[in-house]
Symmetry: C2
Subunit: 433 residues, 2 copies
């Protein structure tokens, strides 16, 4: 009976998703399987149709953070979200706009003692900007009643924003590892894990001079996840982290943090009543050392800890920037190769496009495996125009401008009364916490 | 009485213009003076306040051709106008949207025998484009009844489009001079004038395979100007050509063409009843040789022929690209130096910005002469945000994005029914003749 319910929910969810597709497939997998209950065994090669759609769906929730981000340094709101939480998922045209509602925005800063590159934190140029220290870094959302019914459980989503300039990051690369104290400590079989200093700084730094980071990003996300688990304590819940690039690294930290600190364990009476924690990440740099890997893999024991699906595009340089001599990959890898796509420019659109999240999602839609003989074909009929949303990657045969995701006149609007052009690139309430 | 009427009209026109300004000045000059009846003697240094406003007004009518142009090669409509003639001046937010109406679009091609650089003609990349041979090149407009009342005469405006890539043009420069046969012949004191082969090719070429250029751009403009002069034969008329860069060269050719072929002479009974022909051009390359200059200057005798005010920004490289050993400047020069503007980036935003028309208009608004001691101050309080419309020239102190003139999502719109993103970057009727 329980199983039947899951199957029907998954089926309904698939039908909803196919607003973006022309194929309507009958879902075969339960949400728990798709969330890595069995560590995605048997689902990756060939890539399961339901998993393909689920990965794209979470990827689009991560992409929404990029779509909403004000990255133009000429804006006094550079580094903030363009939209307020209330209408956020509708404004970004996220596919699951009705299935989730955003409950909190997340902000990050970095410690003054840690040299975090400008590729991580956007700093507005004009005087009087909203914040010189903090960046909007993502959101927490929770399934609506209708969404929970469709999804088969009350899913809590944390989406961390990436950085569009991650490829440039290689130029001023800091490879320093620091102990992940507080996030994850030593355990049975591993000593204190160490992680990348820059990622940890963004995740865990406070700045008392910024009203957005009296709490660190870490404190903000943990508090909100705990609050939501309490609010829905009678319900079947899941926690899903998603992010691209820097956002993938933050998702990885959040996943192990939640599990290592038992945040997903409900009630002391029944320590086995744990809420599954799943990270679905794209273009992730390596995050920690070999002890971090041991801790992460241990926490990934089926039924207990965090599961991580790490989607990697073969030509993307970001996942291998941090040297394997000091850093280890964690979780389960889903390897794509978008060089095989006949829809993209030949010979290739370049490193920024290979790393771009929309190009990743195109790859997820079309991958037939990464082997030399493997082809490419859109198993999910995902709109190829999305490939060019932020980069110039689509073949010239398509009438689609490069980097087309932009506000009208970049937010410049003519004031009717004065006749002057003024920047109005954000909506009221965009600086919500 | 006649003089009084002109003065009042000019005053009203000035008040209307000041939608863009905060200063309301009382016009001192008649439209005939401002159109160069006396070759702008005594009006240029210091720059007369009325002339300043008049030059900006025509510059904005030229800028409208750039604002409307679809330049993205990914569009099947690349090289066409985004808007249809009917609402054209409103769509481009031209300041005189109610004073004029567009009566004809102008198209140009180039002879297959003449190697015209891609900086002159935009060629769309996708298959099935609107035209592989022709480009939309500008428009003819005529004063509405209300406009004519305000302006003091029935002004006929020809605005020729420039090329945003004129600065790159230096790389593959063709300096070949060819006889301007048909446009202007030998005369008293000069032999057959010669002009730049590329400009003449764009102006005078037909292409029987393009439905837009069964007639050359030249034939199109001359036919329309003649039609309008006939339609308003009982009225006081003027012909004003305006353009920037390549459009300035085409305006220069059109001006001498009209005068040399007597198109502005009304009725054989009174050959002295000539309609004044004025070109107000910005960032113009040189157009012809010394014989062309002689012909042009001769035709510029007060009261008879064409007058040309050539606005030049000192650091702009385009006006001096064609070598003075073979080419001559014509008309009267108004020299600016936007390096003096405190509103622009320091040390300088670069060659593309020095050549940009909006930066020129900023210079016209603020010039106090080009001398070393001369300062800069916005005598006309023109919105500085316009400086960044197409380039990145404004100082970082202003919260104005670079190159902000862009359609929402570059014209990509989501089809409600299919959920697909499709390019809709032009309005119905944009391919009008």
């Amino acid at each position: 009976m329980h199983r039947f319910f899951l199957l029907v929910s998954a089926l309904v969810a698939t039908t909803t998703l196919s607003a973006d597709t022309t194929t309507i497939a009958v879902a075969q997998r339960s949400w728990a399987e798709l969330s890595g209950r069995d560590n995605w065994e048997g689902l990756l090669d060939p890539l399961d149709a339901d998993l393909r759609r689920a990965v794209i769906r979470y990827g689009e929730l991560a992409q929404a953070t990029s779509d909403a981000f004000i990255g133009d340094p000429a804006s006094p709101y550079a580094g903030a979200s363009r939209y307020a939480p209330g209408a956020f998922l509708h404004r970004t045209q996220a596919p699951d706009a009705d299935a989730y509602r955003v409950t909190r925005f997340l902000y990050a800063t970095s410690s003054a003692r840690v040299p975090v590159p400008d590729t991580f934190i956007t700093r507005p140029a004009p005087p009087g900007a909203w914040s010189a220290e903090s960046n909007w870094m993502g959101y927490v959302a929770v399934a609506t009643d209708a969404g929970a019914a469709r999804l088969g459980r009350r899913d809590i989503v944390v989406a961390w924003r990436g950085t569009k300039r991650a490829v440039e990051w290689a130029d001023d690369l800091d490879i320093t590892l620091v102990p992940a104290t507080g996030v994850v400590g030593p355990g049975p079989g591993w000593s204190q894990p160490a992680v990348h200093r820059g990622f940890l700084s963004v995740y865990a730094s406070r700045n008392s001079t910024s009203r957005f980071n009296k709490q660190s990003a870490r404190e903000q996300v943990l508090t909100e996840v705990r609050r939501l688990l309490d609010a829905y304590k009678g319900e079947n819940c899941s926690i899903t982290l998603t992010g691209h690039s820097l956002g993938a690294a933050l998702s990885t930290l959040t996943a192990i943090d939640i599990v290592a600190n038992g945040l997903n364990v409900r009630g002391r009476s029944n320590p086995n009543d744990t809420v599954p924690v799943t990270a679905i990440v794209f273009g992730s740099p390596r995050v920690g050392d070999d002890q971090f890997k041991k801790a992460f893999d241990s926490s990934s024991t089926p039924g207990s800890g965090a599961r991580l699906l790490r989607v990697r595009n073969a030509p993307d340089i970001v996942p291998t920037i941090l040297p394997a001599a000091f850093y280890r990959d964690v979780g389960v890898e889903l390897l794509l190769d978008t060089r095989k796509s006949p829809h993209l420019k030949k010979p290739g659109p370049g490193p920024a496009a290979w790393h771009n999240l929309e190009c990743y999602l195109h790859g997820v839609a079309g991958t037939k495996g990464d082997g030399d003989g493997a082809g490419f074909g859109l198993e999910v009929d995902r709109d190829v125009a999305l490939v060019n949303k932020e980069v110039d990657a689509l073949s010239d045969d398509y009438p689609v401008p490069a980097a087309w995701w932009v506000e009208r006149n970049k937010g410049m609007t003519r004031d009717v009364k004065s006749g002057r052009w003024v920047l109005q690139d954000h909506e009221e309430g965009n600086l919500a916490m």
